[in-house]
Amino acid sequence: MAQKAGYVLVMEGVTKSFQSRRQKRTALEEISLRVRRGVVTGLIGPDGAGKTTLMRIVAGLLVPDKGDVHVLDIDVLKDPLSVQASIGYMPQRFGLYEDLTVQENLDLYADLQGVPEARRPRRYAELLKMTMLAPFTRRLAKRLSGGMKQKLGLACTLVRPPEFLLLDEPTVGVDPISRRELWTIIYRLVQEEGMSVLLSTAYLDEAERCQEVILMHEGRILGQDAPSRFYNDLKDQTFMLTSETEKGRRLQQRISTMPGVVDCIVLGNRVRLVTDRPQSPEEIESLFGDGAGLSVQAAPPRFEDAFIYILKRCTADRRPVLPVREDFISSPVGIRDGDVIVVEDLKRRFGDFYAVKGIDFRVRRGEIFGLLGANGAGKSTTFRMLCGLLPASGGRIEVAGSDLRVAGAQARANIGYMAQKFSLYRGLTVLQNLQFFSSIYGLKGRRQKRRIEWAIESFEMTHLANMTSGDLPLGYKQRLALAVALIHEPEILFLDEPTSGIDPIARREFWNRINILSDAGVTVLVTTHFMEEAEYCDRLVIMAQGEILGQGTPEEMKAPFRTPQEPEPSMEDVFIAMIEHHDNRSKPI
């Protein structure tokens, strides 16, 4: 016991698998880990890594196939009730009772957790102050914003101060300001109440906010350490490249195949490079310069670099990664020059609530254009209006020269659409999905055959063609969804939250394909709430509460916020600054 004293959680050899449709899926494989007392530990990995399963085992909601789990020195398998009486657990979709008010939700959880009446007023006051929900105690939970709901969920979990707090993806889909607030609350809990926290997230940038990180992928642990220890190893291996003669994408395509390159992504006109050994910028310049005026700067390593580095080391032999084949797209498409999408004073009202309050933007041919904003900012509504799925309440929309709401099938054949949760037929195989979607787009005979062959080959799905699409790994589902959206060679591609939850390697592959498409003249409109993803766009708008807060290239957006202290602000910093600026301006004087 003594050796466990410093730990709130000890797992030894935990394996858990699920039976689904005659096939066994291992969610956790021989997991052994320890979580230290009094710190914030991050459980980090893409969707499907096994984070939620692990959390549920710790909370006593699932029983592992084998292995030992001790939480606060109690065996969870033998006495889950005692564990549950001393931990706090906030599931991914926290169960707030929507028909209850903020206060009633707190009362319910205080009753369930057995908080004595006498202690409640003080605790409520603390929690409401911390979460800034005090003015809303009488509001029904369903009328709260996403960020407020999340904070209320946290408050409910905390009515009885737990020794050990489990948070399953608490920041998913939450706007950056609420996200920042949640982190502040978490650290206050650790400092003031001596709580230990285990928090899972798919956002790699959140790793750096944790004191300790457990990196998970496909049911295994890839490493556990302080976040900086992960990437300190990569010192002198990360660079930022700009070329005078080559566009970012060209440059990236050229270098990504060269030996010694671990990772290489386009950020606007610049390319971020990770190499397999420490080098000086001069060495990089001579290696990759190729006579083109290449300027190389050393860049500080990030957690994501480390993840990619580790992933490639662990899985290099298991899957084909970069680069995407050059002949991914055969011939340049698109006929129009100039603005392909025009949006003027677009409005959408639901009852007396304006989801979109008169926005304007234009997208040029071949551009990758982003709609960036938190859940509820109005980007999905805008998106649906553009696709002609939802009528506008006012304003003008033009997509490839027509309004899709009234235009016929011909105009719709110009667009490809990839829905948020990949609208694939889960019961059909990869091939059947392609056949079905190509036929509803009117492809027949030789052309259909040719396009299906193209899709399977260029998305590297030959070995999976007869697999049921519901059983595909997430990354392949996304590939298939993109293949389906491109099957009829559209000029314009709409992508709704295309990369949420997928692992960074699959994400890179995805953006490489999008870059090639854009080079070939396909216009891409993408919505995302991943702030970092904005960097992949040529231009973007930042949306909040149905309004556009800013518009331009990522560099233009960052420019006003560069300070001597923060020469390289993140997109998230920009977003928060814009919202704060906007709120101050709109406040009545």
């Binding site: 029983v63 549950q84 009486a85 657990y89 926290f94 169960g95 028909d99």
Partner: protein, 380 residues
């Protein structure tokens, strides 16, 4: 097991919290109120008014081959009966065509020699053809027709100063439902079927809703135990379900004029036992079904339909095949139908009430034990 004691001390506080929560939800979310109150109103209206096993104003063709004073007397008798609305036709062919087209449900064929036979023997046969597609209806028409016929002959005999020449004289006396209104036994039976649906739906749907919204997962990691989760659902929905029951009884008495001959407290106890059984069935469904849609479907198929068909509410159990009869002992509604029909139409007949109540107690205990066993604080 120190921790266990600690939990028990706070059990009542947790239960209170769960019940309050459920109360707020009932008030603010119309779906459970709709199940408890709107459903019985709608079903009672549809079945109470729409389904009646009595035949009234049945269209029949009367073929009179040779009109005489006797025949028009008989037709007048038919016309005055509220059971028939006769259509006079002159040939049997025409009448048969109408029967084929289902314009009429039966034919009364009065032959040409009716008057003569009547005068000479005092008894003349008439032909009655009944559409037997609906066997139940056919039997009823047949019976009524006989009634009208006997009445008329009686009348004619008295007028003619002759004694009645019908060989067997059956005297019917109907007990408990003197007017023979089928509604009087249909409505109590219907209440049993409705309560099956309400009870099972309420718990199955609200637990499924908690799974759908993710509140169940949050609930499960609190120190609450399975017993409290079950009680926290059963108590509020028992109260709500009894409200629905009270509404149904009020409708039965005031709207459908079904007599209530037994005592209210027997009715209350019988209903409570049955409602508990139905709520337990709902909980059992919710152990299996984690979405409201599936839970609703299962509740319909495994509780409502069997209750409808096998409870003896419309279809007499004694006339079912032996194997099916055995099966009906598993249908809780069967016992409740018995209790309700007895308490409404006959009074507190103790042997029946006690036997059926015991059956319900056994069933509900069994179901609650199964629910307690299978409802785990786990997600698999």
């Amino acid at each position: 097991m120190n921790g266990q004691d600690l939990h028990r001390g706070k059990g009542s506080m947790r239960l209170k919290g769960l019940i309050c929560k459920e109360g707020y939800q009932i008030i603010r979310d119309p779906s459970s109120i709709a199940i408890a109150f709107v459903l019985p109103i709608v079903l009672l209206f549809i079945f109470g008014y729409g389904v009646s096993l009595d035949a009234e104003y049945v269209p029949i063709a009367v073929v009179v081959e040779h009109q005489t004073r006797e025949t028009s007397d008989f037709v007048a008798g038919l016309r005055h009966s509220r059971y028939f609305s006769p259509v006079i036709m002159t040939s049997i062919q025409e009448a048969e065509r109408s029967l084929m087209k289902r314009d009429v449900d039966g034919i009364v064929w009065i032959r040409g020699n009716f008057g003569r036979q009547m005068l000479s023997t005092g008894n003349a046969p008439i032909g009655v053809i009944v559409n037997g597609v609906d066997a139940n209806q056919a039997r009823i028409i047949e019976g009524y027709m006989q009634g009208v016929w006997i009445k008329w002959i009686e009348q004619a005999s008295i007028e003619g100063g002759r004694s009645l020449l019908i060989p067997v004289n059956v005297e019917h006396r109907i007990w408990f439902n003197a007017q023979m209104r089928s509604r009087n036994f249909l409505v109590p039976g219907l209440i049993a079927v409705i309560m099956t649906l309400i009870g099972a739906m309420l718990t199955a749907m609200v637990v499924a809703r908690e799974w759908e919204r993710g509140t169940m997962e949050a609930l499960m990691v609190t120190p609450v135990n399975v017993r409290e989760i079950i009680l926290g659902k059963v108590i509020p929905y028992f109260v709500l379900g009894m409200g629905g029951m009270a509404l149904s009884v009020i409708m039965a008495i005031w709207l459908f004029h079904v007599p209530l001959r037994g005592s209210l407290w027997v009715l209350f106890i019988g209903s409570s036992l049955f409602l508990l059984t139905a709520l337990a069935m709902g909980l059992l469904i919710s152990v299996m079904a984690k979405t409201q849609f599936v839970a609703g479907q299962i509740a319909m198929i495994v509780t409502f339909l069997p209750a409808f068909i096998l409870s003896g509410f419309i279809f007499e159990i004694k006339s079912m095949p032996a194997a099916i009869q055995v099966l009906t002992y598993l249908i809780a509604a069967r016992y409740f139908v018995d209790i309700l029909q007895t308490v409404f139409l006959a009074g507190d007949v103790w042997p029946i009430v006690i036997y059926n109540s015991l059956a319900l107690i056994v069933m509900s205990l069994f179901l609650f034990i199964v629910v307690k066993r299978h409802m785990k604080k786990r997600l698999e």
